[in-house]
Symmetry: D3
Subunit: 335 residues, 6 copies
């Protein structure tokens, strides 16, 4: 019973002094992250057997990225080395009304320039239970798109379940229809879909009815389930109390029933990787064969808790997430 995630891990550079902008900063904190590796690190910290697949250059930065994955207990044996460079991104952490900003410098990265047949998927997927894919990988290059579609097909054939997070980034796609064409092919082999109502609107122009975000989200999930023929879907909901305070919840559609978590209000320290924490939390619960309500409650607690941890990685333990799930959200000191 184990997980694979596939995608790009990048060098992440963030101004050392928080609340400082890139245009006046003199020191960057260094991390290695990306949506798919974030899901892997979260699964690793939760104690799962998990491997990450990517391609990285044969230099010290590639070495360090691999070391960082190992730190979280991720198996890195299937990572291919070569190519020209590690994809890089710069983060300017926002606060209150000031948005966080991302500068991507990921073109010509080793993963984006893969050729056919660099990964031996039959070997990699052997004895795996789940593979996690995201909608970011296909936008990197046409070969990356083909590879993502291909690995989903192979997985389905081998009996490995496919989880797919749409993770639609407007700035990376030329137009929504480009994403639609690829997503539709992946949906054919998707067992579990992650996303939120905004993404459905952006990519498929689905504007669900409903008086509030919760009702709109359920309607969006219903539409998606029918349109894409996927019967397990998990969506997050975010309500804005203010720019620094959000109310968060999650909904899980499973075997035609909707399971909604409690709503948790957080003061936001870091929005990055919160969706990845939700996906990892749900996969963890589903893999442990928890009942659906427990799975979405756990995923939502992980989603909320990640907002309080700096960085892409969610390093909270299962015990810590359970505690939030049980309502210990007043922030008292634990001794």
């Amino acid at each position: 019973m184990s997980f694979i995630t596939f995608g790009e891990i990048m060098l992440r550079l963030t101004p050392e002094k928080h609340k400082m902008k890139i245009n006046s900063c003199k020191s960057f904190n260094v991390d290695y992250a990306g949506s798919e590796s974030n899901v892997a690190s979260s699964l690793g910290v939760l104690g799962n057997d998990v491997a990450f697949v990517t391609k990285l250059p044969e230099n010290q930065l590639g070495d360090a990225a691999i070391s960082s994955l190992r730190w979280y207990g991720i198996n890195t044996n299937a990572i291919v080395r070569g190519g020209n460079r590690i994809g890089t991104y710069f983060i300017e952490q926002g606060t209150s009304i000031r948005p966080s900003k991302v500068i991507y410098d990921r073109k010509n990265s080793s993963l984006s320039e893969i050729k056919d047949n660099e990964f031996n998927w039959e070997e990699i997927l052997k004895n795996r239970t789940w593979i996690f894919l995201s909608g970011i990988t296909p936008v990197l290059s046409s070969q990356c798109a083909k590879e993502t579609i291909k690995v989903a097909e192979i997985a389905r054939k081998m009996g490995v379940k496919v989880a797919f997070d749409m993770n639609y980034r407007r700035s990376l796609w030329k137009q929504p229809s480009d994403a639609r064409i690829i997503f539709d092919k992946i949906f054919n082999n998707t067992n579990l879909l992650f996303g939120n109502a905004n993404v459905l609107k952006d990519v498929y122009n689905i504007s669900p009815e409903g008086d509030n975000k919760h009702d709109q989200t359920l309607n969006a999930m219903e539409t998606a389930s029918q349109k894409f023929g996927i019967d397990k879907i998990a969506f997050t909901i975010r309500d804005h109390v203010s720019a620094s305070h959000n109310k968060l919840s999650g909904v899980f559609l499973s075997e035609s029933k909707y399971y909604t978590s409690n709503t948790i209000e957080v003061s936001i320290a870091d929005r990055f990787g919160t969706g990845d924490a939700f996906a990892a939390g749900l996969l963890h619960g589903v893999n442990k064969e928890w009942n659906d309500q427990k799975a979405v409650d756990f995923a939502t607690a992980a989603f909320a808790l990640k907002h309080t941890v700096l960085g892409d990685q969610h390093t909270s333990s299962e015990e810590e997430i359970f505690s939030i799930m049980e309502g210990n959200i007043s922030g008292h000191v634990l001794r």
Copy 2:
């Protein structure tokens, strides 16, 4: 007119980058702290003559701990040197719904392994007005428990007043009854008791009636006063607006009357040492013979202000605390 506090000062290690967890941190900030030394440092910063008594190992860490006490103007002459190690604790600073966490590594510390008669209390207490003790010291070892009970008795005999903060830490005691047996002996010589309604519930299973925290706290204090025969009691009250925002107040029972402070709402930067700041504030006021209302108002202003200062120590001056007490709580810049 001067103070003594007695207890364990520990090496305090905290991830340098705030909002980072211990399991991924690469640098710790260094401080030396503990409930009783925090009370001492606060009293020192407020300009009082104060000494701290403990036992520390004969190495550079023991040297640094002593130097840190001197920084705040604390007399360290009565500190005994020897033993094997300095007690250590690691703090993971929480934020919003994420709780702060403490890993204690304090076993076999120099203080916990004291033998009989290492401290010459008659000498140490000479010409002192108050000694501050806490419920943490007795749990360190049976000799530490004996020493705490003994020093309270000697103090009473020498006319030195005893202030005692129950500071009950669930994780350190095997069972509440262990604490009860020791606390009851200390109460016999206690002039001034610090705590809150939760502690009374935890240790003595006292669940006071009342529609709100304020009423419950008054009832708890009334019960404690009668049950323990202590006529000066000061309790803190904490109401949760949210995980990051608390409303704080204090109540002082003195000569059978209850004095309640205003309520101050704070956005929390650091919960550690806030109770110690309250105790130091009240002792400062009582020692200055302020009227009881002023004493509890000052203590509560100190309690609230400490929530905005990182670290265990409360380094605000009397003037700064007065300003909060006078209602200057809008955070405008002082030039």
Copy 3:
């Protein structure tokens, strides 16, 4: 079409670990700032041709201050070198109810000790459109007061428009009447006045009527316009939701009409330099000949956004400020 600002740039030292007090800090962040240079740096970042005029000592600190101005694209050719020292100030960043504190150590600075005729104003002001002055410079020394009054006169004669921010600092002036005498002389040549209702109360004892801060501010502006004979006035309004959360707006009186911006609620990271960001924003808009409503909306968006950036400088681009102005204030990540 270009700007000049004139005043003192100081060495700004701030404890490196935020939320740490000066009395226990071991490392200071270094910056160079001051109200007038903050206006210049903001104008520079917004892409304007701007120069800053001051006097700085002939040592590495003076060199670094000049380099820091150049960083923001400010022309430093008119800066005079000489004198004894750079003015210095220490900032203790507050949070929640704890106020920020400033220790000024600016006596005997190079600017404060200028003699007559050190600046060749006719040369400096040639081909400039606006000069920005503030009420801080005249308090530095009697020669600085004379110089400020003189440069305003020369500017008026040369057709360079004068913007003046009262920036009244209670701790620097002996008594309000000292400021009044000087301000009145500057008003004679002022085209655009910056301030807020509190300053008018402090300096001129003007207590405007009104049920709320907005109405009081309009009335204060009306009084000021008539009393001082200035027809362009821009004031900021600050309402306190709590110590950490303020509601901010701006009002611009221009050609006898009042233009009020939307109100923006922020969680405060740094109050320093926010008024300077407002002034720079308004000057930028006026200089671009935007309509008055757009100018005040832009200035208020800059004012609000600056509250989320650490440090005196406001380094947001025009595009970033426009985005806030257009209502993108939920803090979503921009990729």
Copy 4:
């Protein structure tokens, strides 16, 4: 073909500002290290299959120590969790004539308090080629001594070769004879012995003749080989040009022949872990079946190069060590 190392990994705390002493430091860098894990990390970085065996507490510090091992590609599956605390040490980095200092706080660590049969050695050693042990582990507790002797016996029986580094620490042993009794038992199953002439003098009072360090070292190795019946021995030699500059070499006795490396002069940045780098380098070469001269040349190049890297870990790649071995020691920039 793979390695096991067994011993204690500790929390290593070092003043952040280099050349600062512990008694005035305010921030510690965090690492996890120990002689046996250093050998493992070096083998891991060199691309070997290597596992580390120890016992660590079930808390975030234990988690972080394990994560740090994984960073270097070390298999951590055989690590037992439990016990009370992680052993800790504090390092004061010396420079020039000032010696580095170590404060050990490792009593009652999880490894030192192991009971019988916590490790399933037959399982752990299966399919391994080499196990590396050191003379530090037996001094931790009598069970640790028994465990070290036992694992050497089991290894020998299973055909796993035993490498043993005497690593005699005067401050940890009560008297040399305590070490002798244990070392003699380990020697019975030792295939490859690491050390230097000083250690033989300290533990066995062997004072070899010779005009220089090189000759003395060869004579010491000859004596050791005959006395202990070990036919593979590798010793380091250190000559002092000055306190900051040492001349380094290595000698390998194999099949009755002595292979001496070149001498490399280094300016010393960090002496810690240099012996461990030598041991890892030699094991790497022997395991790759390089000829003996190449093995000792590689080990010595690794030994020398480690003096220029801060921290316990030697993270140089095989290619980097080869380059030093080939005489590229002028420090030119590699682009």
Copy 5:
């Protein structure tokens, strides 16, 4: 009388903790540098009128690179904005025998992807005295090679003198003959050539005779002067006392005479940018019309002094370099 330099300025990332390797580092210091901008910054710090020409992306990193140039007083008006990314490089600072390492990630940088006619050279070169070019720019792309050759031709026609530093980087060129073809074209318009004997050997396979580095360097310069028809040539000489200590000198061929500086021994803190400091020093002297001996003495003092300053930039003032030149090299404190 003023300077232009043209080339690529890159984002330079260096592990924050010195003597730490990239594969285990968690924080990078941020700077913006490159051979040609280093020459510009040094000329700027020395008080010259200097402009830098390049192309940078329209994002915060491009903004920050420009700001960093302004910090040193460099005119940035001719910098073109656009393209995809800023070239990036990672530095691992060596020490003693450990070499510094550079990872270049500069492909597809904005400058490397320039098209024809992006720079208006006639405008840019107007009223300039010198343009500095280097052998790095032509290797970036074929258009960059064309642009470098072209600007040298235009300069010659406009009467702007051309200084050219061969700066041959083996790892960037496919084969020496590629460089030769381009260099030969630039030599046609070169007034002043920078380099050293090693570069002549690498590119032109010129192995000068001579018993020592000094004689070999003079012979190499003689050959170069005749072969390339350049009559002003300045070469550096580096002799290795040890890996950390070098003896440095410079030779200037001018009007058929050779001027050799004194030899200065340094302990090396940072080799980067030392050649650039030499070039800037010589250009500064030549531009000031110092006699040739003084020019080479100044350049060599700058060359030596740069070895003691961390980072690419040489920020020493003229006065500081004069002091070294006058023999104040014992390192006494200047108060």
Copy 6:
């Protein structure tokens, strides 16, 4: 048996990243130091009863300076509070041939502006054995000169011995004769004089004969002893192996005999405060009534060891200095 030192303690600011220059630095390390407080801190760390006398402003910087003194165990009760500012200095740490630089910004400091009779010397000197004064204090203001002369006289009358370190700073005195006039008055009451041959040359134009620095120093001491009538003199000797490596020794003239220490070669990390470490070491030995040879050996070991510790303060313990004195100067790790 105890010590007093009197002088100015200043805010000391140093670029955080070592080997960085002030003109490009963004963060300063904070310390509080000065020659006389350095002697006090060293005496405190060595376990002596020591007090420091100065005047400091009534603000957080004054508070922090006092706290820093307490850290080292210095009694601060006699410090007067008031005046305008704390003297400040900026240090640019040199390395190899690059000199360290100091920017003083100490004018108008609280101590420099003292009036008559601010210190109650009879009270302060009661029961003290030694007072340490330096030649820096008299140059601060004419009242500071008077105060230094006066305190020496009072001390002599009260039987408190006077130690005086000439500490002549060329940049602070207008001309040597100004110093001579004051020094001569202090010499009348001096029991022990510190200095070196260079200072005698600078102030009194005494150029002693001798073939080497050692002989010249003895001759200089002989002249000084006769000319000033002081019979205890201790001088340091510094020989330059290179800019980074010095050979250090000390000479003590006592009861007409000269005691010369061994010579110790060091690689220099920080020259600041080394003379102060020598003075403190000698005073410590004299006060302990060690024989004269032991006293100068200890002082020289302290002098040499301080060169390896960053910062003004010498925080080595007596045991650490003894170890250097006993010849343990190879820099081996102490465990």
